[in-house]
C-alpha cells in the first residue's frame, strides 16, 4: 500500500529524512514511531505529495507519488499534524465544502456520507454548531470524519488521538479496529508507544531521519527464550533453579528456558511460593529504545 525507496529530504544542510524504505502492506495497522523532530511528519507530507522529496521514490497504492496523486489520493484519507477547518462554518458545512473540493466526492451521496461519518466519530449532536465553538477533541474528531468521508482504502493518520480524553482515545481505537476489520489499511504516525502497542500489527521506528527498525509487532514481542518468575522466596527459588537464573532483581527472577509450566511445577514441588510466572516478552518501549540507541548518531538533527 505504501512503498518508498531511499526516500530522502534535505532542507539546506539538514537531512530531515535519510534513505527511508517504508513497506506498508495491505491489511496492516502500521505504527510509525519516532521522537518529535525525527522526520515523521516530513515523511507523511512526502507520502501525500505536500512536500517534494529531494531524492528517492514513493508508491502509494501501487502508483507513483506525486505523479499519480490525482488518481491515488481520493482513495486515501488523511489527518496531517492536527485537524483544520473554517471556524465560522458548522462541522457539517466544513465537511460538505471539503467533499466538494477536487475529484471523487459524489454530490448525490454527500449528505448521507456526512451523516455516516459524523455518527462514526460521535459528532452527530454538534454537527450544526460552528467549528469555532468546538473543543480540541471535537476538532480532532471532525478531522477524522473528513478523512473517512470517501471510504478510503488507506488511512494515513498523524497523531489521531491528540487532544482526546481517555474515553475518546478508546472510541477512536475501536473505530480504527472496526475500519481495519472491514479491509482498510491504516498508517498511524505517533510518539505514543502505548497507543501503537495496543493497536498496530507492524511497527516502523524513525530515528533522526533514518528508519532503524521495521518489523511485525508479534515478532518484536515474541518470547525471548526466558521465563520470568515473581516469588516471595527469591533466595530459595534461585538455589533450586541454580545455574538457570540469568538475572535477579529483588523478587523478580529471569530463568533460561521457555517451559513455564515445567519451572512452575519444579518450584511448587519444592514448596517455593510463586506470585507470577510466564514467558518473558519485551515491551515495545524496550525494543524502540534498543533500536534507537544502536543507531549511529548522525550529524544532523532538525
Amino acid at each position: 500500500m505504501i512503498h518508498t525507496r531511499s526516500l530522502t529530504k534535505r532542507y539546506g544542510p539538514v537531512l530531515a529524512v535519510d534513505s527511508v524504505d517504508l513497506d506498508v502492506r495491505k491489511g496492516d495497522i502500521y505504527g510509525f514511531l519516532g521522537a518529535n523532530g525525527s522526520g515523521k511528519t516530513t515523511t507523511v507530507r512526502m507520502l501525500l505529495g505536500l512536500v517534494l522529496a529531494t531524492s528517492g521514490g514513493i508508491e502509494l497504492l501501487g502508483r507513483p507519488i506525486p505523479g499519480a496523486a490525482r488518481e491515488v489520493l481520493p482513495q486515501v484519507g488523511s489527518l496531517v499534524e492536527g485537524p483544520a477547518a473554517y471556524g465560522h462554518l458548522s462541522g457539517r458545512a466544513n465537511l460538505s465544502l471539503f467533499d466538494a473540493m477536487g475529484v471523487g466526492g459524489r454530490r448525490r451521496t454527500r449528505q448521507q456520507r456526512i451523516d455516516e461519518v459524523l455518527e462514526q466519530v460521535g459528532l452527530t449532536e454538534v454537527g450544526r454548531r460552528p467549528v469555532k465553538a468546538y473543543s480540541l477533541g471535537m476538532r480532532q474528531r471532525l478531522g477524522l470524519a473528513a478523512a473517512l468521508l470517501r471510504s478510503p482504502r488507506l488511512l494515513v493518520l498523524d497523531e489521531p488521538t491528540n487532544g482526546l480524553d481517555p474515553q475518546g482515545i478508546r472510541e477512536i481505537r475501536e473505530l480504527l479496529l472496526q475500519l481495519h476489520a472491514t479491509g482498510t489499511t491504516v498508517f498511524l504516525s505517533s510518539h505514543l508507544l502505548a497507543e501503537v502497542e495496543q493497536l498496530c500489527t507492524r511497527v516502523g521506528v524513525l530515528d533522526r531521519g533514518r528508519l532503524v527498525l521495521q518489523e511485525e509487532l508479534a515478532v518484536l514481542q515474541a518470547p525471548t527464550g526466558r521465563t520470568f518468575v515473581r516469588t516471595p522466596d527469591p533466595d530459595r527459588a534461585q538455589a533450586l533453579l541454580d545455574g538457570r537464573v540469568e538475572s535477579r532483581d529483588g523478587r523478580h527472577l529471569l530463568v533460561r528456558g521457555t517451559d513455564a509450566a515445567q519451572i512452575n511445577a519444579q518450584l511448587v514441588a519444592a514448596g517455593v511460593r510463586v506470585d507470577e510466572l510466564g514467558p518473558e516478552r519485551r515491551t515495545l518501549e524496550q525494543v524502540v529504545l534498543e533500536a534507537t540507541e544502536q543507531a549511529p548518531v548522525g550529524s544532523s538533527r532538525p
Binding site: 501525500l48 505536500l50 512536500v51 496523486a69 489520493l73 496531517v80 473554517y86 465544502l97 477536487g102
Partner: protein, 269 residues
Amino acid sequence: MIVVELVKMLRRPRTWVTIGMLNALPTLVAVLLALTDLGPRPGTGPAFLSAVLTDGTLFPLAALAIVLPFLLPIAVAVFSGDAIAGEAAAGTLRYMVIRPVGRTTLLVAKLVSVIAFVLLAVLVVAATAYVMGTLLLGDQTGATTSVSGTSLSATQISGRTALSIGYVVLSMLGVAAIALFLSTVTDSSLGAALGALGVLVASSLLFTLDAAAALQPYLPTRYWLSFVDLFRDPILWRDVVRGVVLQGVYVAVFLGASWANFTTKDITS
C-alpha cells in the same frame, strides 16, 4: 473547485463587511453634497464630483472614482493576500492539496473568487451610488453632459459605465495578481496584503515625482483613473488602451510567478 471557492467567499462575513465599508464613503459624500450643495470646482477633486450636483445619475462613476485610489485596492489586497496564505495559516491548505485539489486548479479558483469579489464590490458600489445619487442629488431628465461638454444619451452612458466597470476590475486584477504572488511566498496573509499595498504606495509616490518620469509609464497605478476618458466625446482611447496592456502585463507576470512558485513549493504549514 471554483464553485467551492465562490461559496466560501460569499459565506464569509468578511466579504459583506468589506463591501459595506466600501459603500460607506461614497454614501457619506452623497449625503454631504446633498446637504451642503458644495461641490468641488470643475477640474478639481475626484472625477465627476462637480458634475453630480446637477445630475445624480453620474454619481456611480463619482463613487468609483472615490473608492478606486485607496479603499478598493486595500480591500483587493487583503482578499487576494489572504487567498493562499490564509489557508496556510488556518491549516486548511494542506487538506485541500491532499484532497487532492491540483495546485494550479487551486490557484485559478482563488483568482476567480478574487475577481468575483471585485466585480461584486464594484457593482454594489455602483448600484448603491445610483440609488443614493438619484434620491439625494436628483435625476436630471434628458441628456447627460459628457466631460467634454457635449451631451450623451442614456444608452451611451450605460454602455460607457459598463466599460469603465470592466476597466476598474482589470486595474484591480493587477493588484490581485501582486498580492496573490506574495500570498504564495509567505504564510502570513497580513504580510502579503501589506506587501502589495506597499507596491501601490510606492507607485503612487513615484507617479508624483518628476525625476521618475522615465518609470511612470510602467507604474501599476499610472492609468487607474483613465476610465474618465471613456466619458469624453469622442472617447479618448490612448490611455485606456495603455492601461489595459499594462495591467495585462502585470497580471501575466505575477500570475506566472505565483504559479511557478506555488506548484513547486513544499507545503509545510
